[in-house]
């Protein structure tokens, strides 16, 4: 009994002294998960399937921005104006490359199956094949080692919260992600494009009868999801570097985040990502580092078993 108490108090002690740093790191990670989760949840909305190859969109975005920044910055240290420009270019290259890969993916791995009205299993297999193909191809072409990205700005601690230093990097991630997520939320909620996506997600058949172009809506959905995924690849790559397998773990966690928030639900993906980032960050205090990835997985299984509709709920289809 007292053993357990000692165990807990020791861990809570760690938690106590590292609470703020863990929170800050968790939020930053959480935003990256949110950005990736958007892609899962939007594609799920219109296609009713999990885009297993989304991890490779993330990876592609990371590499695109790596190559661009490497060419532009090299080993120099950019000025303030340069930092802003390079950040913008990094975001753009990551996002656009993610978009491109997403469109190709839809074209090659999904659309032929959609034309044939294939069973769901076929989509899953095709997507897994595509993912496997892409990251291994990246490994072959770009080498199978981690590449650190040329830094658009010098990372240093900006200020402290309750004594915990907050790094520039975190601020950048949070600011960019929050702005982009807000933008997306507005696009989905107010534009014609967003209405089309929502209509298809609600009831594809009726939407097509009402004149929504399904094919086009699906492509646009992939593009939006791809942009956010690629952008996340850039933000992630800035601190962790890029490598051909970089998509696997973050994407699995982002998927968890999408399910946690309620798959098919855009705001759910944002909330789920943040929540997962924070919970995972704090679990470092309790779980052996080797098993840290198990935490997200355990959350995934738990959510799927206990509340498969997630926090904000998904839209359920008819069954009979």
């Amino acid at each position: 009994m007292s053993g357990i108490f000692q165990f807990l108090s020791a861990h809570f002690h760690i938690l106590h002294i590292t609470f703020w740093p863990l929170l800050v790191g968790g939020i930053a990670n959480g935003f990256i998960y949110s950005l990736i989760a958007i892609g899962y949840t939007m594609v799920y909305g219109v296609l009713r399937l999990i885009n297993f190859a989304h991890s490779e969109i993330f990876m592609a975005g990371g590499f695109a921005s790596y190559f661009l920044l490497h060419a532009l910055i090299g080993h120099s240290t950019p000025s303030t104006g340069g930092s802003i420009l390079f950040m913008a270019l990094g975001m753009l290259s990551g996002g656009l490359c993610g978009m491109l890969v997403a469109v190709i993916l839809e074209r090659v791995a999904y659309r032929p199956l959609r034309r044939r009205n294939a069973p769901k299993l076929a989509y899953l297999i095709s997507a897994i094949g595509a993912s496997y193909f892409m990251f291994n191809l990246a490994g072959k072409e770009f080498g199978r080692y981690n590449l650190s990205m040329a830094q658009p700005f010098v990372n240093h601690s900006l200020f402290t919260i309750f004594g915990a230093p907050v790094q520039m990097y975190y601020i950048v991630i949070v600011a960019i992600s929050a702005a982009m997520l807000f933008l997306l939320d507005r696009i989905v909620a107010t534009t014609k494009l967003g209405r089309g996506i929502r209509a298809v997600a609600q009831d594809a058949e009726t939407a097509s009868l009402m004149g929504v172009n399904i094919d086009q809506t699906i492509v646009v959905t992939f593009m939006l999801g791809g942009f956010f995924g690629g952008l996340a690849g850039f933000l992630f790559g800035m601190s962790s570097g890029v490598v051909y397998t970089m998509g696997f773990t973050p994407a699995l966690k982002a998927f968890t985040a999408a399910v946690l928030g309620g798959i098919g639900n855009v705001r759910g993906a944002m909330i789920g990502g943040l929540l997962l980032g924070i919970v995972e960050s704090f679990s470092i205090a309790f779980v052996n580092g080797a098993f840290i990835d198990v935490v997200a997985f355990a959350i995934l299984v738990l959510v799927l078993l206990v509340r498969p509709t997630g926090i904000l709920g998904e839209q359920l289809g008819r069954s009979a």
Binding site: F52, S126, E141
Partner: protein, 447 residues
């Protein structure tokens, strides 16, 4: 103004060009972060000499291939109906002949005889051990995954976990792990067979019972995570599994009954016959299963779960059963490998492995026992061939690119596989002729 026909042709040509560029890339020399496009621009070590006449970069060659293939394909398109008609009439009789029961049975007998004499023909030690480690064992695994994915229509991406459980159970029972064997007795690997099978099945039920009620795509992710976690535990629980290095002290199979004493391990051939025997047993058992009430129930669930429930079939029960049976054969394959190689380590038990088995099943034909065996033989032979005689600049991981490409290509062009099962072919072609309103396409309520 381009005519629509010309536009289609240009599109086709560009698509082919893109495809050939990808082929060039994946067959080319490896790139690096500094020179990522080597696969397109360079040849392996030196410029390619074209018929010894002049030097061409690879992309010129590939462009030429593209043009040739395009021309041949156009020709084929314009002539295909007549060629297919001729083919159909000329092969009608032979095909009818192969459909006869007696012929089918004697084909099987013939194949078995070939399998039996194979080690006499294949005498190269590399290929002899490949026959056991890379083909026979993989056939067992493919047969098992075929029950899960082919028969029951469930995508299991963590199939390797059951194989790992089988292998570690063997190591445990024979006393090769840091964890003491049961009752402190170091047993023969033969005794590991029932134990491994039971443990794998129990793991299958424990994983399956809660998760198999999930939708197909969730199941795929959960099983994927499960596979990774088993590997993680194998890697990190040093005092139980031996950690990252695993163990290499697993003994060979031995046989002592009365005066007969036999020990496997003198070369791969005895193992080959042992594996062959088990492969035959599994084939027979799974064929009976396919054509039993259980097999029909799986088909029913796969095609329409709601309808299946309406006639009193409990989908969860049958899915768990498919999982357990698939797990059992993976567990068994684990015993074979562990005993033959004397060795287990977590490095084997990765997602790569699960995907590899999935490729065998998809390539050969989901739900078709003959298909998955053919798939296993072809894909594994291909892989071993490349590993045995690699082209310059080839890295073993490059094989994974091909595996991924096979999955996508099969789903696009031949979803029922090389040797489709009759039921699966009907299912997958039915969707094509069936009416396809937008809603059905999108929702595709099949799984």
């Amino acid at each position: 103004m381009r005519s629509p026909v010309a536009a289609t042709q240009i599109r086709r040509f560009l698509a082919l060009l893109a495809l050939m560029a990808v082929v060039e890339l994946i067959t080319g020399p490896p790139g690096s972060a500094e020179e990522p496009t080597i696969g397109i621009t360079r040849s392996f070590s030196e410029p390619t000499s074209f018929f010894g006449l002049f030097v061409t970069p690879r992309f010129v060659l590939f462009f030429a291939f593209t043009v040739i293939i395009y021309l041949v394909a156009s020709l084929w398109r314009s002539q295909s109906t007549s060629i297919v008609a001729i083919w159909n009439t000329t092969t009608a009789q032979p095909r009818a002949f192969t459909q006869r029961r007696a012929v089918r049975l004697s084909t099987r007998g013939g194949l078995l005889v070939i399998a039996i004499v194979l080690p006499l023909i294949v005498t190269d030690p590399f290929w002899q051990s490949s026959l056991v480690e890379q083909i026979a064992v993989y056939i067992l695994l493919a047969l098992g995954l075929n029950v899960v994915t082919g028969f029951a229509g469930l995508l299991d991406l963590g199939y390797v976990a059951f194989y790992a459980i089988g292998a570690y159970a063997t190591a445990w029972v024979t006393g090769a792990l840091p964890l003491a064997p049961p009752f402190g007795i170091h047993m023969d690997p033969f005794f590991a067979i029932p134990i491994a099978i039971v443990l794998a099945m129990v793991a299958g039920v424990i994983l399956g019972a809660p998760t198999l009620r999930l939708r197909g795509d969730y199941l795929a992710i959960v099983t994927l995570g499960f596979g990774e976690i088993i590997a993680l535990f194998a890697n990190n629980l040093n005092t139980i599994t031996g950690g990252a290095t695993g163990t290499n002290e697993i003994p060979h199979f031995t046989f002592h009954v009365g005066p007969v004493n036999y020990r496997w391990g003198l070369g791969p051939v005895p193992y080959y016959y042992l594996a062959l025997g088990f492969v035959v047993i599994f084939i027979v058992a799974f064929s009976l299963l396919e054509h039993s009430r259980v097999g029909r129930a799986w088909t029913a669930i796969r095609e329409d779960e709601v309808a299946a429930e309406s006639v009193g079939i409990n989908p969860l029960k049958y899915k768990v059963m498919a999982f357990a049976i698939g797990a059992a054969s993976a567990g068994f394959a684990g015993v074979m490998t562990a005993a033959q190689t004397n060795f287990v380590s977590p490095a084997t038990f990765t997602l790569v492995f699960s995907i590899n088995i999935l490729v065998l099943v998809i390539f050969g034909g989901m739900g078709s026992i003959a298909g998955v065996i053919l798939g296993a033989v072809l894909v594994q032979t291909f892989q071993m061939f490349i590993i045995h005689t690699p082209p310059a600049g080839f890295q073993p991981q490059d094989l994974y690119i091909y595996l991924g490409a096979i999955l996508v290509a099969m789903m696009i062009f031949r979803p029922a596989g090389l040797l489709p099962s009759r039921r699966r072919r009907r299912e997958l072609t039915m969707a094509e002729v069936g009416k396809s309103t937008a809603g059905e396409i999108l929702i595709g309520e099949q799984s």
